[in-house]
C-alpha cells in the first residue's frame, strides 16, 4: 500500500535542504521496496522545524522535524511510514501547540495541500468564495468586503472595501487589479509563503476583486528576490487558465479575468504603490504625487485596485463565509486575522495566523519561545525598516493597528524582528538612515540627501564630541524628513531612528 509523505517546497524549507530530504526519501523508499507518494507541500509555518516531514497515517498526519538528509535512513528504520517512534517525531501536526493556538483563515490550506494542485485546492474549500461572487452584483461584493473590516495588509492599513468602492464607482473602459507582492520589509515573508504554499487563494482573491470593480486584468508585481514564488505562481496561472479558472470565461460565467506576473528588480521603494505602478509600466520606480489616487488613475492611467498579497488572499474566505464572519475576529477597528511573522533573533521563528490583538509578548514568547541565542530580547522592530524599535516595556502592547500606533510604532505587514541584548541600537539607527539613502527614489531632497547627512550625524553623535548639538541636529533632520517627504520612505525613516534614540539612549552615549 502506498503511503503519502509530505516534504515542503517552501523556500525557507529549501534553504535548509528540503530538496535533499525529498530526494533521500525517494531513494530510501526505493531501496527498501516501499511505495511512497511524495507530495511537496507548502510550509506549516514552523520554520524553525524545517525541514518538517509529514506522513499520512490512519490517525492523521504525523510530523517529524527538523529532518536533514542524513536523518532519512534512520526515519525509515523507525518505520516512519506508520508514524513510528523516532527522536525527531513531533506528534500529530494538528495537535502541535503552535498549530492549535492559531486561527488559520487565510493560511488554512498552506502546508496541507500540494500548492499547484487544482484538485487539492477545490477539495479543500477553494473556489467557494469565487462561485458565490459570480452570483452577486459588483456592489454586493464590495459591501461584503466593507463589512469584513479588512484593512490593507501592505502597511498603510486602508480599508480594502472603501478602496474597491472608489474603483467600482470610476467609469472607464479598462480597470486593473494590481497585486503588490514586493514584500520588501525585513522580517516579513507571509506573502512569499502564501504564493509558494497556496497560490490559487491569491488568484481567486484577484478574480473576485476583478468582479467587484469590473476589472478584467490583473498584475502581480513580484519582487525578484523570490524566484521560487515566481515559478509556483507562473505554473499556477498556467494551470488555472487551462482549467478555465482564469481567462475569457471564468468558471463558465462569461466573465473574463486574466493575471500576469511581473518581476521587480531589487528596489525597496517600488513597494510603494505608485512607484510600483511606474515600475509595472516599465519605468524607473519613482513615486508619483497623489492625487490622482491610483484608484482613479493607476496602471496606464486607468482605475486600479492596488492591494497587498495578504489583503487579496483574505478575500476568498470573506466571500465564502461572509464579511461578518471575518469581522467576528480581531479587536476595535483591527478586524480579522493577521499572519504574523516572527523573525530575527528568535528561537521559534515562523508564521502564525491569529486574530488581530494578540500581544507582542505572546508572539515573542508563547509562539517564539524567546531569543535564539537564549539571551534576553532587548528590542524588537515591528513593521519593517520603517517601523519603530520598541523596548521590553512595550511588549504587552496588542499587535493591532491602533494599539501599536498609540505605543509609537506601526503594525506594517505584521513582521516582528527580535534582537537580543548584544544589539547596538545606534547601529540600527544608523542603518535606518543608510537604508533610506540606498533606497530613496530621489524625488525629494530631504529623503535623497538628508538620509546621507543622517548617517553622518549618527556617527558624530556616537563619537560624542558635541552630543547636545548633534542630537538636536538629528532631531531637526528627522523633523524635515517627516514633514517634507512625498512618501513614507523619507517620511517614516525617522521612526526607527528616533525610537532607537528615545528608548535606548545609552547606546548612543557609549563614548562617555
Amino acid at each position: 500500500m502506498s503511503v503519502t509523505i509530505y516534504v515542503p517546497c517552501d523556500s525557507a524549507a529549501l534553504s535548509l535542504g528540503a530538496n535533499e530530504v525529498a530526494d533521500a526519501v525517494v531513494r530510501e523508499a526505493g531501496s527498501r521496496n516501499l511505495e511512497v507518494q511524495l507530495v511537496r507541500n507548502g510550509s506549516r509555518g514552523m520554520l524553525w522545524l524545517e525541514t518538517m516531514l509529514e506522513v499520512a497515517t490512519d490517525a492523521g498526519r504525523i510530523a517529524y522535524g527538523p529532518v536533514t538528509e542524513g536523518d532519512v535512513a534512520s526515519l525509515f528504520d523507525a518505520d516512519v511510514m506508520a508514524g513510528g517512534e523516532h527522536a525527531l517525531r513531533l506528534g500529530k501536526t494538528d495537535d502541535l501547540p503552535w498549530m492549535q493556538k492559531q486561527t488559520r483563515l487565510t493560511f488554512a490550506r498552506v502546508g496541507v495541500t500540494d500548492p499547484v494542485s487544482l484538485d487539492d485546492y477545490s477539495e479543500h474549500g477553494g473556489l467557494v468564495g469565487l462561485k458565490k461572487a459570480l452570483t452577486m452584483e459588483p456592489s454586493a461584493i464590495v459591501e461584503a468586503v466593507v463589512a469584513s473590516g479588512l484593512r490593507g495588509r501592505g502597511g498603510a492599513g486602508f480599508p480594502a472595501g472603501i478602496k474597491w468602492r472608489t474603483v467600482l464607482g470610476a467609469a472607464a473602459d479598462q480597470k486593473y487589479i494590481a497585486c503588490n507582492a514586493d514584500e520588501g520589509d525585513s522580517g516579513t515573508f507571509s506573502d512569499r509563503m502564501i504564493m509558494e504554499g497556496d497560490p490559487y487563494v491569491l488568484l481567486e482573491g484577484m478574480v473576485i476583486a476583478g468582479l467587484a470593480v469590473d476589472a478584467t486584468e490583473g498584475y502581480i508585481y513580484l519582487r525578484s528576490e523570490y524566484p521560487d514564488a515566481y515559478v509556483v505562481l507562473t505554473s499556477a496561472i498556467e494551470r488555472a487558465r487551462a482549467a478555465g479558472w482564469l481567462g475569457s470565461d471564468v468558471l463558465g460565467s462569461g466573465k473574463a479575468f486574466d493575471v500576469h506576473v511581473r518581476l521587480g528588480a531589487g528596489s525597496y521603494v517600488c513597494g510603494e504603490e505608485t512607484a510600483m505602478l511606474e515600475s509595472l509600466e516599465g519605468k524607473r520606480g519613482i513615486v508619483r504625487a497623489k492625487p490622482p489616487l491610483p484608484a482613479l488613475e493607476g496602471l496606464w492611467g486607468k482605475p486600479t485596485v492596488v492591494n497587498n498579497v495578504m489583503t487579496l488572499a483574505a478575500i476568498p474566505y470573506i466571500l465564502d463565509q461572509g464579511g461578518e464572519a471575518y469581522a467576528a475576529y480581531g479587536t476595535g477597528r483591527s478586524l480579522g486575522t493577521l499572519p504574523y511573522q516572527l523573525a530575527g533573533n528568535i528561537k521559534q521563528g515562523g508564521l502564525v495566523e491569529v486574530p488581530l490583538g494578540v500581544t507582542i509578548r505572546e508572539l515573542l514568547y508563547d509562539f517564539g519561545g524567546g531569543s535564539a541565542t537564549g539571551r534576553p530580547i532587548r528590542a524588537i522592530q515591528v513593521g519593517g525598516p520603517l517601523g519603530a524599535y520598541l523596548p521590553e516595556s512595550k511588549f504587552d502592547t496588542p499587535a493591532d493597528y491602533e494599539s501599536l500606533s498609540a505605543a509609537g510604532g506601526l503594525l506594517g505587514h505584521g513582521g516582528i524582528v527580535a534582537f537580543d541584548d548584544t544589539v547596538d541600537m545606534s547601529k540600527m539607527a544608523r542603518y535606518a538612515m543608510e537604508f533610506c539613502a540606498i533606497e530613496s527614489c530621489g524625488k525629494c531632497t530631504p529623503c535623497r540627501i538628508g538620509s546621507t547627512r543622517g548617517v553622518e550625524v549618527v556617527d558624530r553623535l556616537v563619537e560624542g564630541k558635541n552630543r547636545k548639538k548633534d542630537e538636536a541636529l538629528l532631531r531637526d533632520l528627522c523633523d524635515t524628513l517627516t514633514s517634507a517627504s512625498l512618501c513614507a520612505m523619507g517620511g517614516l525613516t525617522p521612526l526607527p531612528v528616533l525610537s532607537a534614540l528615545d528608548h535606548f539612549p545609552e547606546d548612543f552615549a557609549k563614548s562617555e
Partner: protein, 170 residues
C-alpha cells in the same frame, strides 16, 4: 553604489544575438523594458551596454530613458559577474543574527567585499535587502538559491561546492 570599473567591453556576437532574441520575444508586451532587461540578464548575467540602444529602438523610447531604467534598479549589472553570484542579506533580521560577521568573513577569508568579484573571478558578492527567509537568518542567496542559518563554515562549504562545479580553486 556598486564599484565595478566601467571599461565597457564590447559584447560578443553571441551575446548580441541573445540580446536581440530576448528583445524580439518580448517586443509586443506592454511595459516591456524591465522584462527585457531581466531576460537579457538571465541569459548573460548582465545587460551589455549595446542593449540600451536596441531596447530603446524596440520600445520607441529614448536611449536616456532606457539607460535611466537600467541604472535605477539594483538588480541590473552592466558587466559580467563572476562565475557565481552570492547575495548576502544585509537587512535587519539578518543583522540580528550576525550577518555582519558573514560580510567580515568574506573579506578576511575570501578577500572579497560587497559589490566586488574575488580575484580568481569565481564569486561576485552583492548586498541584498531581505530574501524573505528572516525566520532562518542569516540568509544568503547563491546562484539564485536561498540558504538559511548560514554560519561562516556553512558559507565556506557552499562556496567550495560552487567553485568545484566550475572548476575553480577553493
Amino acid at each position: 553604489m556598486q564599484s565595478r570599473s566601467s571599461s565597457a567591453v564590447a559584447a560578443t556576437p553571441d551575446q548580441l544575438a541573445a540580446v536581440d532574441a530576448a528583445i524580439s520575444r518580448l517586443a509586443t508586451m506592454r511595459g516591456a523594458c524591465l522584462p527585457m532587461m531581466h531576460a537579457i540578464q538571465a541569459e548573460l548575467g548582465f545587460v551589455p551596454h549595446e542593449a540600451v540602444q536596441r531596447i530603446a529602438d524596440s520600445l520607441n523610447l529614448s536611449r536616456a530613458d532606457v539607460h535611466g531604467v537600467l541604472t535605477y534598479y539594483h538588480d541590473f549589472r552592466s558587466e559580467a559577474p563572476g562565475c557565481h553570484v552570492l547575495k548576502v542579506c544585509r537587512a535587519e533580521s539578518c543583522q540580528a543574527m550576525g550577518s555582519e560577521k558573514l560580510e567580515d568573513h568574506l573579506c578576511e577569508k575570501h578577500g572579497v567585499a560587497m559589490g566586488e568579484t574575488c580575484a580568481d573571478g569565481e564569486v561576485t558578492v552583492e548586498p541584498v535587502y531581505c530574501l524573505g527567509n528572516c525566520a532562518l537568518s542569516p540568509a544568503v542567496m547563491l546562484d539564485g538559491k536561498v540558504y538559511g542559518r548560514v554560519s561562516a563554515e556553512r558559507l565556506d562549504a557552499l562556496l567550495q561546492r560552487a567553485k568545484k562545479s566550475t572548476g575553480g580553486q577553493s
